[in-house]
Every structure is written in structure tokens, then in C-alpha cells.
Amino acid sequence: MEELQEKIKQYQLKFDEAAKNVKSPNELQELRVQFLGRKRGYLTKLIDSLRDLSPEERPLIGKEINELKKYITSRLEEINQNLAAETRKTPRIDITLPGKTIPLGAPHPIVKFQEEIENIFYQMGFSVEDGPEIETDYYNFEALNFPPHHPARDDWDTIYIEGRDDLLLRTHTSPVQIRAMEKRKPPIRIIIPGRVFRKETPDPTHLPMFFQVEGLVVDVGITFAHLKGTLESFLRRLFSERIKIRFRPSFFPFTEPSAEVDISCTVCLGEDKECRVCRGSGWIEILGAGMVDPQVLKNVNIDPEKYSGFAFGMGIDRTAMFVYQISDMRSFYENDLRFLRQFLKQ
């Protein structure tokens, strides 16, 4: 039995040695016959000699022979494939030449950024609403607690429709808050992205049209603490978990109390007194927000004693400018392909 085991080892070494020298399919065939040939193959002979062993020894050695057979078979196949690959005729090409591209179109960064914002709010249980861009004075101002002749209207430079004193281009997406609250009863948890218009002469930071996203939550027991929690989660998801967030008192006619929300400057991390982005303050103003003014709730027949809510608004262009460090807001609307196509990678 030991003798046989020794033989098995020897055959494997012999095979490996011979396999090294196989250079052609013919030689490979010879090698195959030499070891696996049905009549005179080494392995066939080995199997024949099993007969001389005791019934206890037979399966042991049988197994070893089988393993060797598997080994040889797989090695022969490997050599066969290598030989085939070597002999296959392939035209000589310079494979270092550049590959072909499929000209994929690029998304507009504002649309893409808006989508990102929407996705974060979907995750937080919000839905998305929209509304008309040509609005009435009532929805754009009056229902939002801007009385006629109120100086607060000066902050929202308005473009009006010719021939119709009651119509204007919405200066914010807030009128959709009113429309949403007229349409349905609380609980309400919506965001409203969209185009807004201001009478502004275009310059690097002002445009007569830009995109805004507005949010509104109304329910029983909604508090300023909820406003803070919601906006902090949103901003952390949009920017980074590491940013610092600051709420400061502010004023909007349609919220009370009102707040302005700043995030820590992600460009200089508050360490550069000369920082171009935060002007050395370490903070970037990012959102306006507040508790929905009781008068606004009354205007849509929601009882402010029973319900409360919060609202917020953010410039999409302005925020995208900050995120991508784009210095001129006009570049979003010039639609230069060299600008737009960069966002294929984003």
C-alpha cells in the first residue's frame, strides 16, 4: 500500500514536470494519453493495481488516485485554454487609444439640487406641493399678513402684470402655503419648491428670477422646538453632520416668532477673518423661518388656539452657489455647456 502511495506522489511530480514543457496541442494530447489513456495510461494502471490491496485499503488509495485524476484533468484543461489563447488570431491594435463615449446629457444643477432637497424632506415625511407663478396680491401678500401699504412689502420688490392690478409674479413660494391650507386641514407637512420673481437688475448675487423652497408644518402642538429639530436635521443631511447651526431672531410678516438660520462656514470653518464666503463672520445665512403667524392661520380658517405651525424658506440658487462655490448666480441661467456638463459628475 505504501508503495502505491509513493507511486501516486511520483506520478504527480512527473506530470507537473512534463506539463511545463507542453508547447502545442499535439504535445498536450500526448500528455493526456500518457497519464489518462484508457489502456496504458499511468492512472489506469494504478487503478488496476487496486485489486492487489485488501478491501480496507482499497477505498483509501482509490480516493487518492481519484484526486490525482481530478488534478490532472483540470490542469490539462487549463493548459488547453492557455494554448488556445496564445494561438488565437487577434488583429494588432493599440489598446492604449481612448475609448468611445456615449454622449450622455447633463442635468441642470438647480433641478438636481432641488431633487436632493425634496428627497431629504420625503424621508422626513413631507410631501411636495406647487402652485401658480402668476399670483394675486391676496395670496402673495395680504393673506400672508402684509397689509396694503405696509413698508414690509418694500423688501419684496414686485413685478406686476400689465392691465391687471390684482396680478403679479409671486415674490416667494409662500402663497402656496395659503393655497395648501385652504385646500386641506391639518396635519400638513409640505414643502413647496419653485420659481419666484423679484424686480432686481441681474448682478452676481441678484436675479429677477430664482428658485426657492418653502416648508410648512401645521398640526396640534407644533412648537418652535419642532421647527429647530426639523431644520437642524434637514441642514445636517444637506450639508454635513458636522456643521454648526445657529437660530437668530428675525422678522417676516407671516411668522411670529421669526428666525434666521445660519450654518457654520464650511469653507473657512470660521477660521479666516478674510474669508470671501462668510466675510469673516464664520456663519452663512441659509434659511428664514418662524412659527406661522396666528393671523395667517385665521385667514385660512384654521383656529390658532387649536393649531400651530412653522414655516421656512430657502433660496435654492443661493444655497447651491454656496455648496459648489459658484461665484456668479447668473451662470445658472447662461446655460453654458462647459458649466452645465460638470454636473454630470455630481
Partner: protein
């Protein structure tokens, strides 16, 4: 609002670093936008709000700081030198329009030496950005910037008599302002007049005819309260905005005019003036302070944090509000006159929050009690539309919603454009009635910057009148010109053409399952003759595609072929597309027959396609036109069309003989209907 630190210290002690001061101001909502140093003073540019006119002077900022720091305001003295004359013997004020001018105070200062102001006053005015004129005018500005109370000084000698009349202007009454602007007034405007003429436009600007000059000796000081709406309407109508009107239209402190008048008088006494006895104070119906109820539980309900009663009370006391705590659980709050913004309980709660500190309020998440409705199917369709177009190589653009008169002339349509009353520029005089002018401008812009191929789409609203309604419709515009892809070493360059665009359009509507779409050969005013198709869905036209007319292209400096298309997505999105249904894959093999015909070259392919689609051909899975050519081997007036027909039976393998039978029927039908000739060498597999 520019605030001088040096000036602020007249009102309150401030022992802190500028950084700390800015932080305190920020925390109560007085945002410091900019800090600069001038003449050893620190100038803070503070953002103010339309509802807080009380912060439009140094006193107001000091009051806020006093509450934030828990530090009292400094007492101020305004001593005067008096003459023996009584004010009422010199001036007789008659208010005809009490509803517009509920309070009017006046004093006369005699013997003022008009000249330059002292250096300290000039420096302070410089700090807030005001030019020094003479000591009398400077004093009025000084008091305005100190207290937010506008003051006007008249040259007493120039008034026609003792009477000062506050009245409506007469129709077309003319008035010349201090700076020489000639104005025509109308009756809804309020003027200050003597017996002959208006001498000031109330609350806005003084008249040239009564202005203080170097020759002035005696001065009449006006310190009044004018109703905000009246001042605002007049200022707006006349296109005037002054430091005074800015404050009056936001609301001044009605309790302040006497103090304001004495401050001015006291300062003028420093220039040799003597004040008449007794302040004129026309205030026939003194107003009560506003009383509001603040419920403690509402503070918690709105802010989401328990704030102790003591903190709430001390905040209001520090802000000079009256606090009556006799009712348990709530307070009666008396609002000081300078806080015109505090009208409701919510306004009081904001004060509590501001001085408690927004950063002290916890951040929690509102409980989700009910799910919001899911995104609309239209939203998903638009997302799919975008990804299909990206795949076809179109880049997404966004243009302004405006267009110019020239655009309107080039792209006139049956849609009546919405015009803007006060557009930003003539280039944006109207709302766009089509997306194409924007897209074509984008093409020109990119070609001018070296782009060799421009393929763009925009989806957005177009606007037009439908009767008296301003309508907004979602539109989709496409433009394509030039090379399809960057040059590549391995293949010839492919340029955009009609079929590139048509292929994208076909794929778009097919993948969105808006099927069937029909194309009609019809002229379109924006397209070259014979190169436009009207696209319809279920018989309704939804848009067009074609080659931009050269005359229009030239207006946008375009010389090359530009392929254009526009579709009414709003209409489509309102329709339900065909439902998506999965079909199991048939495992039996197809039988394929390729066949070529000679066809009259004038025959529109669409007719052939329609004919074949309508015929009931057994087990025909699909057919494709895979080749089309003319040339030397083809007779004149003919074209060779090669079709591939694919047959498949869902439950068994088709026999070649069966399929031959079907093919015979197809060929016979095409021969009879259109005179197709089977081409020599065209293979029929028998």
C-alpha cells in the same frame, strides 16, 4: 442702520469687547452686517426690520441692549435757556386733519447763530453717513439718528404769519422741496402750511420757501406724529423717500414728540438760542397704551420649552413694558408706545423667546401622526422624461420665464402673451409663450463659445391669457444642432439631423407610454417648409418638431441648421398613459423574413407603416424598415425599401410554409395598394 459705538454709550454703559457686543446684538435679532472703524469710533451696520422702527435710532438699540444685558439706560438732561415769550403767542397751530396728524408739538428758538456745528456733532453725523449742513439742520438730523424721531426746523421769519396749518394739499398745488424739486400735490397728501402756502410736505420733506439758511435767526421746531399710511402713500406717489418718511411710514413713538422738541431746543441753546415758554402740544385725543393678555401656557405651547414666570416678567420689565401679574397663569401686559410691532399675544411670545435665547430652546422632531400623500404620478413621469432625454444626449437647461418683444415677433402664436407692467428690462417685457427663444439663445451662446454640437432641453412653464385668466402650462422644448458627440478617432462624425430629434421624440413618448403618437406632415410657422411634423396623441395635437426657419435663426445670429421641437407636457401629464403591463417572454423561436421592394419615391413611408399596422397579419410580431436607398441600380423616381418581418407564435414553432403564406399576402397587398415591386435579388426564403 449705522450705529456709532461712541454715540450708543451716551445711552448705556458698555464694558465689553466689540465681539461680545456683536454676539449679544445678534442673539436678540439685531444682526451686525458689517463692522468698521472710523475716527477712533466703531461703526456697526445693523440690519433692521420693517416692523421695528424703534430701532432706527441709537436710543432704540440701547433699549434692546439694556434688556439683553440687564443694565439700566443712562438718564439724560436737556437743559434750555428760555425767553419770556410764550410759544402760543408766536405760533398758532391748527390741525385740520387730526386723523392723519394726531399729535403736533412745536417750540420756537430765537437768536440762533447759524453756522457750522461743533466738531463732535459733525463727527457723529459722519459716523452714520450724514453730511453736515449747518448747526440747525444738523441738530434735527442728530436728534433723528439719536432717537428715531424726525424733526423739522422752519425759518420763523419766512412763515407768513403765526398760523401753522396741518391740512390736505389742494388739487395741483405746487410745492418746491428743500433740494429744489418742483412737485404737484393732490388732495390726499398732507401739508404743513402757513396762511398762504405749503411750507412742508408733512413727514417727508420741508419746503425751500421756509428753509433754514445762514441768515436765519429764529427757528420754529416741529416734532409730530404723522399716520404711517398717509406718509407712505404720499412718499410712494411722489417717488420720494427721506430719513423722515422712512421712519414715519413705519410708525414713530407717539409719546415722544415733546421730548424730541426739548432735545432740539436744548441743543440749539448751545448755539446762542433761547426757547419760548411752554411747549405747543396739539394732542386732542391721547392714546392709551395697548394692553395684551399673555397666557403662560401659550408660551410653552408655542415655544416647546418651559420658561419660568420670573424670567418672563423680568424680560418685559426690562423692555419697559408694564406687567400686571394679578391673574394667576397669565399677565396683563402694557405695551410701550415705541413698540408699534407688538399687537398680539404671539408678538409677546416672540419677545420672551428673543430674550430667553433661541439657542436655549431645544431641538425636537414633530411627531408624524399621518402620512402625507405620495408624490404625484406627474412627478415621476417628469423624472423619467428627464432620464430618457439625458440618455439621448440632451442637456437640461433653465431659462428665465421672460421673453422680449423681438422673441414674441419671431415666435408669434395664437397664445396671447402676458405683459409685465414694470419689467426688469426690455429683454424681459413679457412672460414666455414658448420655451424656444430661450433655448435658441442658449444654442447661439454655446456656438459662440466654441461648442460644436448643442443638444438641449428645457421643461418649464409657458404663460398666456385664456380669456381673462392668466394660464400657466408645463412645456417641453428641445433643440439640437451640430455634432452629436465629441470627435473620436475610430468613427466618422455624426451630425444632428431631423431623424436624431424624431428618434428621441418617438422614444420619449413610447417609453412614457403615451402611445400611439401620430406625426402629421404640416407646415409650422417656425419651421422651414416641408420640414415640420405636427405630433398628436389620441387625435389631439400636442406639439411639433422641425427645422428652424432660417429667417428666425438669423435673428439669433444662427447660420447652421437647428432642429427644434416643443410639446405641451401639461396636457399630456393630465392624461393617464397606457398602463405598464409585463408580458411573459415567448420561448418559441421567431421566423424572420427580409424583403426589399422598389417603391415610388414620393410615397410617404408613414402610409406604408399605417397600412401594415392596420392589417391583420397572423403572428406578425413586428416589422422594421432596415434599409432605404436610391442610386445607380435603382430606376429614377424609385427608392428601394428593405423590410424585416418577424413572426412568432406564442404556443408553438411556426412552420416555414405557413410564414411563406403570410408573406405572400403581405407582398400582394403592398403591390395592390402602393404598386410595390419585389426587388431583383430580394430574397424570399422558400
Amino acid at each position: 442702520m449705522r450705529i456709532s459705538l461712541d454715540w450708543l454709550k451716551d445711552f448705556i454703559e458698555l464694558d465689553m469687547s466689540p465681539d461680545k457686543l456683536i454676539q449679544v446684538l445678534n442673539s436678540i435679532g439685531l444682526v451686525v452686517d458689517e463692522v468698521s472703524e472710523a475716527e477712533g469710533d466703531l461703526i456697526l451696520e445693523i440690519e433692521t426690520y420693517a416692523n421695528r422702527p424703534d430701532t432706527l435710532g441709537h436710543l432704540g438699540i440701547a433699549r434692546e441692549l439694556s434688556a439683553a444685558l440687564g443694565q439700566p439706560l443712562k438718564e439724560q438732561q436737556w437743559p434750555v435757556t428760555e425767553t419770556s415769550e410764550k410759544t402760543e403767542d408766536i405760533i398758532d397751530v391748527q390741525v385740520f386733519v387730526e386723523e392723519l396728524c394726531p399729535r403736533y408739538c412745536g417750540l420756537v428758538v430765537r437768536g440762533v447763530k447759524v453756522g457750522p456745528s461743533p466738531e463732535w456733532m459733525q463727527r457723529r453725523l459722519r459716523a452714520v453717513g450724514i453730511k453736515s449742513i449747518n448747526n440747525v439742520v444738523d441738530v434735527t438730523n442728530y436728534v433723528l439718528y439719536a432717537t428715531a424721531q424726525p424733526i423739522h426746523a422752519f425759518d420763523l421769519a419766512k412763515l407768513a404769519g403765526p398760523k401753522i396749518i396741518i391740512r390736505q394739499a389742494k388739487k395741483d398745488e405746487s410745492f418746491r422741496t428743500l433740494d429744489g424739486t418742483e412737485l404737484k400735490l393732490s388732495p390726499e397728501m398732507m401739508v404743513i402750511a402757513d396762511e398762504q402756502k405749503p411750507v412742508a410736505l408733512a413727514g417727508i420733506v420741508g419746503g425751500e420757501n421756509s428753509a433754514v439758511t445762514e441768515d436765519t435767526r429764529d427757528v420754529f421746531i416741529e416734532c409730530a406724529y404723522f399716520e404711517p399710511i398717509s406718509v407712505r402713500q404720499t412718499a410712494k406717489r411722489l417717488g420720494l423717500q427721506t430719513d423722515a418718511s422712512y421712519r414715519f411710514e413705519r410708525g414713530t413713538d407717539i409719546s415722544f414728540p415733546p421730548q424730541g422738541a426739548w432735545m432740539v431746543a436744548s441743543l440749539l441753546c448751545q448755539f446762542g438760542g433761547k426757547v419760548t415758554r411752554g411747549l405747543l402740544d396739539i394732542y386732542p385725543h391721547p392714546r392709551k397704551k395697548r394692553t395684551l393678555i399673555l397666557r403662560h401656557h401659550r408660551v410653552h405651547e408655542l415655544l416647546g420649552v418651559e420658561i419660568p414666570a420670573e424670567k418672563i416678567e423680568s424680560t418685559f420689565r426690562a423692555l419697559q413694558f408694564g406687567v400686571d401679574a394679578t391673574q394667576p397663569g397669565s399677565w396683563k401686559i402694557l405695551v410701550p408706545y415705541h413698540r408699534v410691532d407688538i399687537e398680539r399675544e404671539a408678538d409677546l411670545i416672540e419677545e420672551v423667546a428673543r430674550f430667553y435665547g433661541y439657542d436655549q430652546i431645544p431641538a425636537t422632531f414633530p411627531p408624524l401622526k399621518q402620512l402625507e400623500p405620495p408624490p404625484s404620478p406627474a412627478k415621476k413621469t417628469i423624472q423619467r422624461m428627464r432620464s430618457i432625454l439625458f440618455h439621448y444626449g440632451f442637456n437640461e437647461v433653465l431659462n428665465f420665464s421672460f421673453m422680449s418683444e423681438e422673441d414674441e415677433a419671431c415666435f408669434a402664436s395664437s397664445r396671447r402673451a402676458v405683459r409685465l407692467r414694470n419689467p426688469v428690462s426690455s429683454r424681459s417685457a413679457l412672460m414666455r409663450t414658448t420655451l424656444l427663444p430661450g433655448l435658441i439663445n442658449n444654442v447661439a451662446y454655446n456656438l459662440n463659445r466654441g461648442a460644436e454640437g448643442v443638444h438641449l432641453f428645457e421643461w418649464g412653464k409657458i404663460y398666456f391669457w385664456k380669456n381673462d385668466d392668466a394660464r400657466e402650462h408645463l412645456s417641453l422644448g428641445l433643440v439640437s444642432t451640430g455634432l452629436m458627440a465629441a470627435k473620436h478617432w475610430s468613427s466618422p462624425q455624426e451630425k444632428s439631423d431631423f431623424f436624431r430629434l424624431k428618434g428621441a421624440v418617438e422614444a420619449l413618448f413610447s417609453l412614457l407610454r403615451y402611445e400611439p403618437i401620430n406625426f402629421l406632415e404640416e407646415e409650422h410657422p417656425w419651421c422651414e417648409k416641408g420640414v415640420s411634423l405636427i405630433v398628436s396623441y389620441k387625435g389631439e395635437p400636442i406639439g411639433f418638431l422641425g427645422l428652424l426657419r432660417q429667417e428666425i435663426g438669423r435673428k439669433y445670429a444662427l447660420k447652421q441648421d437647428v432642429w427644434i421641437a416643443e410639446f405641451d407636457m401639461g396636457y399630456l401629464l393630465a392624461k393617464q398613459p397606457r398602463a405598464f403591463r409585463f408580458q411573459s417572454v415567448v420561448k418559441y423561436p421567431a421566423v424572420i423574413r427580409d424583403v426589399s421592394f422598389l417603391v415610388d419615391s414620393n410615397l410617404p413611408y408613414q402610409q406604408v407603416q399605417g397600412f401594415l399596422e392596420k392589417r391583420e397579419i397572423p403572428w406578425l410580431e413586428k416589422f422594421e424598415l432596415y434599409d432605404r436607398f436610391t442610386g445607380a441600380s435603382i430606376p429614377r423616381g424609385k427608392v428601394s425599401l428593405s423590410f424585416r418581418f418577424v413572426f412568432r407564435h406564442p404556443e408553438r414553432t411556426l412552420e416555414a410554409e405557413e410564414v411563406d403564406g403570410f408573406m405572400e399576402r403581405i407582398i400582394r397587398a403592398l403591390k395592390t395598394e402602393f404598386g410595390f415591386q419585389l426587388r431583383e435579388g430580394g430574397k424570399i426564403d422558400k
